[in-house]
Amino acid sequence: MQNEEDAEDVLQETFIIMLNKLDTFEGKSSLYTWLYRVATNVALGKLRKKKNINDSMSFDKIEFENISSLELADWPDHLEEKFDTEEFHKCLQRAMDELPDHYRAVFILRDLEGHSTRNTSKILEISEANVKVRLMRARLYLRDQLVYHLKCVNRGDYGG
């Protein structure tokens, strides 16, 4: 853990789990090993939760101005030709995987499955304005990842 407060939380949570689950301890390993494993799982869970919150927060800051027109100049006239390359395909797949759940859900429903804004808002139980904002950020994120990828290709970062 990167700070004392988080470490204390992990310690406390580990002891609570120990008290509640001690009867499930089968004695196949030492108590120390069992406790160490519990503490590791608690710590990893906490780190994962923190990372998800941070990822989601960084998505909330995505705006049109994040990419400059200069960077967009790398965009090719015939994108489909570039898209035939495995690297390019992987880049878009990775970008879609990276979308936090609440952005990916909107993107799938609106852009991949073609549901209306109204229907999407009903399905996800969020306002239509929220659907639009999330959709725009998801699209911008995917577009921006392709721009960064194209920049690397043009610079020859992939050695090909």
Partner: protein
């Protein structure tokens, strides 16, 4: 007339969501005539959507969304 970035962003968002009314279409057309960057934004985002739609991708629908989708559409989930 579009007079600030926030308003432009709102119009572009609506345009790309196909939730745009006739007044906005005109406002956007007027603005794009003078704004090459906006045209580039629209073109590149539309191409990205097209690639995502036509490419062979595995996109996992988040947990719970399928269930809600079936409920809203009034269908039974097998």
């Amino acid at each position: 007339m579009v007079d600030n970035k926030k308003r432009l962003s709102e119009i572009l968002t609506n345009k790309l969501s196909e939730d745009i009314d006739n007044n906005m279409v005109q406002e956007l057309a007027d603005y794009i005539k003078k704004c090459e960057d906006c045209k580039m934004d629209i073109d590149t985002i539309q191409q990205t959507i097209k690639l995502a739609r036509t490419g062979d991708f595995e996109v996992l629908i988040p947990q719970g969304v399928s269930k809600r989708l079936f409920e809203v559409l009034g269908l039974d989930q097998e």
